[in-house]
Symmetry: C2
Subunit: 120 residues, 2 copies
């Protein structure tokens, strides 16, 4: 099984990797999923709080995404029926599995910004 000429993993592995990559992109695709997950993982719980923590997002998009993410068990939504309606969003275990991806993306974004500045 030696294949010194080819550094690459075999075609089957490659095919599996592309699929895995595409699956992931499908799940966390779009502009808002990851920022929302990140915000909630950072401890933001209230709707307006999350909203304010993500530049550019609208209530409509936040509402939509939260709803679907709740269905997919990515987050947990709890209503406390006190006087002023209180709702809290919290991360689930599932939610935390995105941690490394988010970390790497934040790292990249910071490095990228440095690069841009250096170039000017």
């Amino acid at each position: 099984m030696k294949d010194t000429e080819n550094i690459l993993s075999n075609p089957r592995d490659q095919a599996e990797e592309v699929r895995a990559l595409q699956d992931t992109i499908y799940v966390i695709g779009g502009k808002w999923r990851l920022p929302i997950i990140n915000s909630i993982c950072n401890g933001n719980k209230r709707f307006r709080e999350i909203e304010r923590s993500i530049p550019g997002i609208t209530t409509r998009m936040l509402s939509r995404e939260l709803k679907e993410m709740e269905l997919n068990k990515i987050i947990k939504r709890t209503v406390y029926p006190d006087s002023p309606v209180l709702v809290a969003y919290e991360s689930t275990e599932y939610c935390t599995t995105f941690g490394n991806i988010i970390l790497e993306m934040i790292k990249w974004g910071i490095e990228h910004r440095k690069m841009i500045i250096d170039k000017d």
Copy 2:
């Protein structure tokens, strides 16, 4: 500066992180960027070769993305003017900076698929 009640980093850091995250999403957003980068980093060089390595992509999208990624110095395009036109795409250093993100996303995708199977 002790703040034992708050595990979170301070608001300024959080704001920077969201921005970084959004920057990254902007750069690698869409269905095709990362799969293409991945394919090229895996050693695929020819147009049809890359195309075949990415399930679902059309020549139109591949063409569009490659063109823009060349402009952004994410990849390098070389034409060898031999008898049958030969073109080779190669990764640049810049291209490799996405490595960790892609790796984490592949990991996640593979784990995710396992989960789905176990649940059935």
